[in-house]
């Protein structure tokens, strides 16, 4: 015997009233993309749930993929058996034995198929007895069992489910609109993108590239990070902004200690313009309060002034260690710590202003007209679409 189905349990989205339908449709779409590499499996939607029919596919890799899909609270492995007492007994025993290190169990039978001749209470007793007499050292615990064996006698067949496997929770990506993520290449911004996606947001990324101050490897690093994030939302568009001229002008025309603050303001200006162009309704950054000079309250106040788009800061109240933990978990950490210069590290003033004031900034900016450089930067944007299963058809495909 082997598990032949995976039952998908929705999380929060089942609470969402009349939006439920749309959320489920999106989840189904996202799952379909996720399961593409498994040619055998089928995604099946029934009235009240979704399940995956494995058709011989090993369940472990499928489960791992499902755990990256937001909107799924938990998963159950299930076997499907004929509607006969003997088959159900056999299946339930197999499912219990397939669980490792189990000392106690609870058995729950449901019988939506009322034409099945034995009631659910009686089935519970029959099955419980069967399990107890065919195992050693395992007892029943209805309050706090190590595993719950659920038996559902339906019209087409009986489904027997065992241990619950937790998934990512959250909302299906694509159900709550789009955001433009400022993706630098550091540890924080990918995590911010991940957390935004967890709330159902579809992410596009903007990256500021300043050749020759920043290298192709730094750009590739950002694309690699975006690639990692596609695990959670199958496609990410990365907009690479040619930032060199704008950056050079800033550092030519503005006092050194205000350079960074004003650079950030320009980044937000460019981002907002791009968001507007692409019908994206918010910006997302990896800022965390107090972490570096640009993330003091004064800096945020000065930088945020240039846009009235919502700036989502999922990390704003998080500690660095917790951010690093997530970054390790989602697989971006190793890439993030690669030591390439990015636009934020190369022009770092010796003593950046940690308490910039809006008045000073206005004075400096009034003297310089950046509009031409901003337009040029926007016109020169290169947009790269990265999809989850890209790696298999890389530019080196013919070599490998």
């Amino acid at each position: 015997m082997q598990y032949d189905h995976i039952v998908i349990r929705y999380g929060e989205l089942s609470l969402k009233g009349k939006n439920k339908k749309q959320f489920i449709a999106q989840l189904r779409e996202n799952l379909k993309h996720k399961l593409k590499p498994f040619s055998n499996v089928q995604l099946i939607q029934s009235r009240d749930r979704m399940y995956i029919k494995l058709n011989g596919q090993d369940h472990q890799p499928v489960i791992e993929k499902c755990q990256d899909v937001f909107g799924i609270q938990s998963l159950n492995l299930a076997i499907r058996v004929e509607n006969s007492v003997d088959k159900i007994k056999e299946g339930a025993l197999w499912a219990l034995k397939a669980e490792e290190q189990v000392k106690t169990f609870k058995l729950t039978t449901k019988r939506p198929n009322k034409s099945f001749e034995i009631g659910s209470q009686e089935m519970n007793q029959i099955l419980g007895g069967h399990l107890l007499s065919n195992t050693e050292g395992i007892t029943v615990d209805v309050h706090n069992p190590d595993v719950e064996i659920r038996v559902e006698i339906r019209h087409d067949a009986t489904y027997i489910m065992a241990g619950k496997i937790s998934a990512s929770g959250g909302l299906p990506v694509g159900t709550t609109g789009k955001t433009l993520l400022l993706l630098s290449g550091g540890i924080d911004s990918p995590v911010a993108g991940y957390l935004a996606m967890k709330r159902g947001v579809q992410v596009e990324a903007i990256h500021f590239h300043s050749p020759p101050y920043t290298s192709d490897r730094a750009k590739q690093k950002v694309l690699d990070l975006a690639q990692e994030l596609t695990k959670y939302g199958h496609e990410i568009r990365v907009h690479v902004v040619p930032f060199t001229e704008l950056q050079q002008k800033i550092f030519r025309e503005v006092p050194e200690n205000y350079g960074m603050t004003i650079m950030r303001r320009q980044m937000l200006r460019v981002s907002e313009r791009l968001a507007e162009r692409e019908n994206i309704l918010s910006l997302t950054t990896g800022e965390s309060l107090g972490q570096v000079a640009s993330q003091t309250m004064e800096s945020m106040n000065s930088i945020n002034e240039v846009t009235n788009y919502p700036v989502i800061r999922p990390l704003v109240a998080m500690d660095k260690v917790d951010i690093i933990d997530i970054s390790r978990k989602i697989g971006t950490y190793e890439t993030s710590i690669l030591p390439y210069e990015d636009c934020c590290t190369i022009f770092v003033p010796k003593q950046p202003k940690t308490r910039p004031s809006r008045e000073k900034i206005h004075q400096f900016e009034d003297h310089v007209d950046f509009s031409e450089e901003i337009d040029k930067a926007l016109d020169g944007i290169e947009t790269i679409t990265i999809t989850e299963h890209d790696l298999t058809k890389s530019e080196f495909e013919d070599l490998l």
């Binding site: 290298s215 192709d216 490897r217 590739q220 790696l391 890389s394 080196f396 013919d398 070599l399 490998l400």
Partner: protein, 379 residues
């Protein structure tokens, strides 16, 4: 030509040679150079590593490219021994490992390490109880091969890994050189800390291999230098060889999926033919890897049989290189407890997915004829 010595080495796939040449021509930049040209090479290196890791179902940070099976085995064994000798200085291996394992262990003995060489039964299998009983407070490493190169015997790697996982102090290394692409191995088993593979056994090129090092496992490198491969194996990467290996790995694993039955079928044809002849005794166990078939023809000097077959353009082998006092004796067959009538007269056929049914039928026919001809002189 009928080539039946694929456990010694294989013919490179044409596609693999093509890649090797293209990479040598187009991506000769040093992956460590910071210019764009070096960057391209680095990207190809990373992509190759990722593909290898995906195929082997491990993480890309756990794959380290080396010069081949011998280097991988040495790196694993000496590397663990030197790095963790303060935990203990006892190593467990078996009597029928590849020389690159046995000799590495023997070298460590001269440095004061203690080595247990586990005995094997007639089929070449180790006894799990004996293994577990050999573990003591000083044990830091178990090194056991997956598929034996002379016999095709498959060792119970999963069971050994389960045992190893119970002893947090020790590491478990698997020599998977002969099993790769033929007999599945779950490298990601938590009990397996290190695993060696080689390219030229799977239709790649000589001079490339890899060592899987599980996350969290540290070792003392054999080489010191420029920090490549996370300093576990410094030296400018052999990118063309690496790409060739990863391509060979992909092609071989595709074949493993599609044509494993073909391998079994060919092995059965030869086994059936040999078993019919009462001059021949088959040494390989029935449940061994199908691509290796070891047998003895008592009183027929192996070298003479090999040369006689060579004249017919058929190539098989005797045994792998060994350091036995008798030049003809197979240390592996001797360790299996076979007497001189078998251990001195061992022959080995090793197949690849590229061999055909016609070839093995032809071999079976010619082999019997050659024995008949030699019969007059030697029998």
């Amino acid at each position: 030509m009928i080539y039946l010595d694929n456990s010694a080495t294989t013919s490179p796939y044409p596609e693999v040679l093509e890649s090797f040449q293209k990479v040598s021509e187009t991506y000769y930049g040093n992956p460590s150079s910071i210019h764009q040209f070096g960057g391209e090479a680095e990207k190809l290196l990373k992509t190759s590593k990722k593909q290898a890791a995906d195929l082997l179902k491990v993480d890309d940070e756990e794959i380290f490219f080396t010069s081949g099976g011998t280097e991988s085995n040495n790196t694993a064994i000496k590397g663990i021994a030197l790095q963790h000798q303060n935990r203990g200085r006892h190593i467990i291996t078996s009597q029928i490992e590849h020389p690159s394992v046995l000799e590495a262990c023997a070298a460590l003995e001269t440095l004061g390490f203690r080595v247990t060489y586990l005995p094997v039964n007639h089929e070449g299998k180790i006894d799990l109880d004996v293994l577990e009983k050999s573990i003591d407070n000083e044990t830091i490493l178990i090194s056991i091969m997956h598929v034996n190169n002379e016999l095709g015997t498959i060792q119970p790697i999963t069971e050994i890994a389960d045992i190893a996982a119970k002893y947090p102090k020790l590491f478990f290394h698997v020599d998977h050189v002969q099993g790769l692409g033929k007999i599945p191995l779950d490298m990601s088993h938590p009990g397996i800390n290190l695993c060696s593979i080689s390219s030229h056994k799977i239709h790649g090129l000589k001079g490339t291999g890899a060592l899987y090092i599980q996350k969290g496992t540290t070792l003392f490198p054999l080489l010191h230098g420029g920090g490549q491969e996370s300093a576990n194996r410094p030296g400018t990467e052999n990118l063309a060889g690496i790409v060739a290996m990863v391509k060979a790995l992909r092609l071989t694993m595709e074949k493993q999926k599609q044509s494993f039955d073909h391998l079994t079928n060919m092995a059965n044809i030869i086994r059936t033919a040999l078993e019919k002849d009462d001059r021949v005794v088959v040494n390989s166990p029935e449940d061994g890897a199908p691509h290796i078939l070891n047998f003895s023809v008592p009183n027929y000097k192996p070298e003479v049989v090999i040369h006689a077959l060579g004249k017919e353009n058929i190539f098989i082998s005797t045994k792998s290189a060994c350091s036995s006092k008798h030049s003809d004796e197979s240390a592996v067959l001797a360790a299996c407890g076979w007497g001189e009538d078998r251990s001195h007269f061992g022959l080995r056929i090793s197949l690849s997915y590229q061999n055909t049914e016609e070839e093995v039928r032809e071999f079976s026919k010619v082999f019997i004829r050659v024995l008949d001809e030699l019969n007059d002189v030697m029998g």
